[in-house]
C-alpha cells in the first residue's frame, strides 16, 4: 500500500502550526484512499520534534540532511527525492507556504509526478479524490484530477481545520541520514526586516483599501470614511503597499497582519486567498465591490455591490442626517 507522506514545516522555534493543517488534509485523503500516513521532518535530525509528531499516532521519519545548514531548496529536493523514491508515496502533502512553494514544484518534476498548488478542499469522486484550488482571483474553484504520480498537494494555509487530538498510541520514529553535496545554493541566514505596527491590532474598525481605489489620491476618501467610525484605522491590500501608497505596517494578509477587529470593511478588494488569510478572525466583515462575483463576498457577512465612491458618499449623507 502506498502511503501518504506529509512534509513537516518547522523553523528555529519548532514545528510550525500549518503542519497540523497538513496532517488534517492527509487524514481526509487517508480515509478516502485507505492509506497510511507518514510524516517526514527534513532537517538536522531532531528526535524531540519527531516524538511530538509520533505521539499523535503518526509514523515519522526524522530525516537528517547532512551538509545542509538551514533551509536549502537543493538539499530538500535532493534528499526528499531519494527518500520518496523508496517510500513511493501516493500523495505528498506540503504547505503552500514560502518554503513549500520553493521546493515542491521542482521535486514533483524530479519524481516524475506533478504538483497541485493552493489546494483548499478535497472532493471525493468515483475516480478518486479531486483537488480544489482557487482560480480567477478566487471567483471560482477549479476541481482537478492528478494525472501523474506521485502528486504533491500544496495545501493553502487556513483551509483545513485541525481536529482536536484524540488519544492515539505513539507511533514509530525512524531516523535516517542523507548526505547533501550540492553547492549552487549557499544559505546566508534569516533576516527579520519589519516589525508590525500596533495600529491594526488595536483598532476596533478597519477600513481596508484595495486596488479598486484606482488612484492614490483616493486614499483621502477612505481616510475620511474611516474617520466616521470610533477607534478606526485604514488598512490595505498588498498591491497598495507594493506601490508605496501606504506603509507596510498597514498591510493585511498572509504576508502582512492577521487582524481581528469588531468590523472589517473591505473596499475594492477582490478577496484573494492571501488577503483572506489575514481577515477571517474579524467579528463582522462588510465588503464593498462593484463586481457581484468578487470572491470576497463568499467570506463576508454583508455584501454591498456598488461603486465604492458612490457608496461612501451615500453613507456620509446618511450619517449627516442621523448625527
Amino acid at each position: 500500500m502506498r502511503p501518504i507522506a506529509v512534509v513537516v514545516e518547522h523553523d528555529a522555534g519548532g514545528i510550525i502550526p500549518v503542519t497540523h493543517e497538513l496532517l488534517a488534509c492527509a487524514r481526509i485523503l487517508a480515509d478516502q484512499t485507505q492509506s497510511s500516513i507518514v510524516a517526514v521532518i527534513p532537517g538536522k535530525g531532531d528526535p524531540a520534534m519527531a516524538k511530538q509528531i509520533a505521539d499523535l499516532g503518526i509514523e515519522t521519519v526524522d530525516l537528517a540532511i547532512i551538509g545542509m545548514d538551514g533551509y536549502n531548496s537543493e538539499a530538500y529536493k535532493g534528499a526528499l527525492f531519494q527518500l520518496f523514491t523508496t517510500l513511493a508515496p501516493l500523495y505528498i502533502i506540503v504547505g503552500h507556504t514560502a518554503t513549500g512553494r520553493d521546493f515542491a514544484p521542482g521535486l514533483g518534476v524530479r519524481l516524475g509526478g506533478g504538483s497541485i498548488a493552493g489546494v483548499n478542499h478535497i472532493v471525493s469522486d468515483q475516480t478518486g479524490p479531486l483537488f480544489s484550488r482557487p482560480v480567477l482571483n478566487g471567483v471560482k474553484n477549479a476541481l482537478v484530477r492528478p494525472d501523474a504520480s506521485p502528486c504533491i498537494i500544496m495545501v493553502q494555509p487556513g483551509a483545513f481545520r485541525v481536529q482536536g487530538t484524540s488519544f492515539a498510541c505513539p507511533a514509530r520514529v525512524t531516523a535516517m541520514d542523507i548526505r547533501f553535496t550540492g553547492g549552487t545554493i549557499q544559505p546566508l541566514g534569516i533576516k527579520t526586516v519589519t516589525t508590525q505596527g500596533e495600529d491594526l491590532d488595536q483598532a476596533a474598525v478597519i477600513v481596508a483599501a484595495g486596488r479598486g481605489l484606482g488612484e492614490r489620491e483616493n486614499l483621502d476618501i477612505l481616510e475620511r470614511f474611516a474617520a466616521l467610525f470610533p477607534n478606526s484605522v485604514v488598512g490595505a491590500s498588498r498591491p497598495l503597499v507594493d506601490d508605496g501608497w501606504i506603509e507596510y505596517r498597514f498591510q493585511v494578509g498572509i504576508t502582512g497582519a492577521r487582524v481581528s477587529p469588531k468590523l472589517y470593511i473591505a473596499c475594492g478588494i477582490s478577496g484573494s486567498s492571501q488577503h483572506l488569510a489575514g481577515i477571517l478572525g474579524s467579528e463582522l466583515i462588510v465588503s464593498v465591490n462593484s463586481d457581484p462575483n468578487a470572491a470576497i463576498f463568499n467570506h463576508s457577512d454583508l455584501c454591498i455591490v456598488a461603486d465604492l465612491f458612490e457608496f461612501i458618499s451615500a453613507f456620509e449623507r446618511i450619517l449627516q442626517r442621523h448625527p
Binding site: 493552493g118 549557499q186 467610525f229 467570506h299 454583508l302 458612490e310
Partner: protein, 245 residues
C-alpha cells in the same frame, strides 16, 4: 549577462475586455532591466529577452516589454482552447529556449489568473537551474558568477541566499517600481520583430481540470438590495444595532 523573462497576458477585468501583462511579471521584467543596466554601467554586456506563451494577440505583452526596454521577444503561439497547467507552460518554454545560454531566468511569483506560482520553479527544474522563489531583493556584482537574493517568508522574515549562475528567480511584487513604457522605446518597438513560434507537441499535463465550482462560503453573505442609498441605510442601521456607530 543574458537574461530571460517569462511574461503572460491576463484578463484585467472580469469580462475579459481589458487585457494586460500579468502584474507580477512587470516586477520580473523591471528587475531584469535594472540588472542589465547595472552591467551596462560597469561596461559589461547585458541583454533582456522576453518570452510569452499565449494565443494569438498575446504578443501585445511582448510589445509592452519592448516599450519598457526588452531587447528581443518571442511569442509561442498556443491554441486558445488549450488550458494546460504550469507544468505544460514550463515544458513548452523549456523546449523553446533549449540551447540559449541564459545566465539568469526571471518570472513573476505567480499569474493573476491561475495563481499556481509553479511555472518558474518547474522551468528551473527542467532547465537544470538552481531556483529561488518569492524574491524581494537581489544583488549581484557585475562580472561575478553569483546572485544574492532575499526570499520573502511569512511573518516578515527574509531567507537570504547566494546562488551560482545560471539560476532562476521568481519575483514577488513590491521588489521595485516597474517603469512605464517610454515613448521613444515604444516607437522603436514598432520596428522590432517578434519571433513567432508555433506550439507543436504539447507535453502531457500532470493534471486535468474536471470542472469549475463556486467557492464555499465561510459567512452568511447577505447581499444588500435596492439603491446605493438603501444599502447605505441598511449598513448604518446594522452598525447602530451592533453599537459600533
Amino acid at each position: 549577462m543574458k537574461i530571460l523573462v517569462c511574461i503572460k497576458q491576463v484578463n484585467e477585468t472580469p469580462d475579459g475586455h481589458t487585457q494586460a501583462m500579468n502584474r507580477f511579471d512587470e516586477y520580473a521584467l523591471e528587475e531584469a532591466l535594472c540588472i542589465k543596466e547595472r552591467f551596462k554601467e560597469a561596461g559589461l554586456d547585458g541583454g533582456v529577452d522576453v518570452i510569452t506563451l499565449g494565443p494569438e494577440g498575446a504578443e501585445t505583452v511582448v510589445k509592452r516589454a519592448f516599450g519598457m526596454g526588452a531587447d528581443n521577444g518571442c511569442h509561442l503561439v498556443s491554441d486558445p482552447k488549450q488550458n494546460g497547467s504550469s507544468a505544460v507552460t514550463a515544458g513548452l518554454i523549456a523546449g523553446a529556449v533549449k540551447g540559449c545560454a541564459y545566465d539568469l531566468v526571471v518570472t513573476g511569483i505567480m499569474s493573476q489568473d491561475r495563481m499556481e506560482g509553479q511555472t518558474g520553479p518547474i522551468l528551473a527544474e527542467l532547465m537544470g537551474l538552481a531556483c529561488a522563489t518569492g524574491v524581494v531583493a537581489t544583488s549581484l556584482v557585475p562580472g561575478a558568477a553569483v546572485i544574492e537574493v532575499e526570499r520573502e517568508m511569512e511573518k516578515g522574515e527574509r531567507d537570504c541566499l547566494a546562488m551560482t549562475l545560471p539560476a532562476l528567480i521568481t519575483v514577488q511584487a513590491g521588489i521595485n517600481s516597474p517603469r512605464y513604457p517610454s515613448l521613444s522605446k515604444v516607437l522603436k518597438a514598432a520596428k522590432k520583430t517578434i519571433k513567432t513560434l508555433a506550439v507543436e507537441a504539447v507535453p502531457a499535463d500532470t493534471q486535468t481540470l474536471v470542472r469549475l465550482e463556486a467557492p464555499l462560503k465561510s459567512r452568511s453573505g447577505r447581499v444588500l438590495g435596492g439603491t446605493v442609498d438603501d444599502k447605505a441605510v441598511a449598513l448604518f442601521d446594522l452598525l447602530r444595532e451592533r453599537g459600533i456607530l
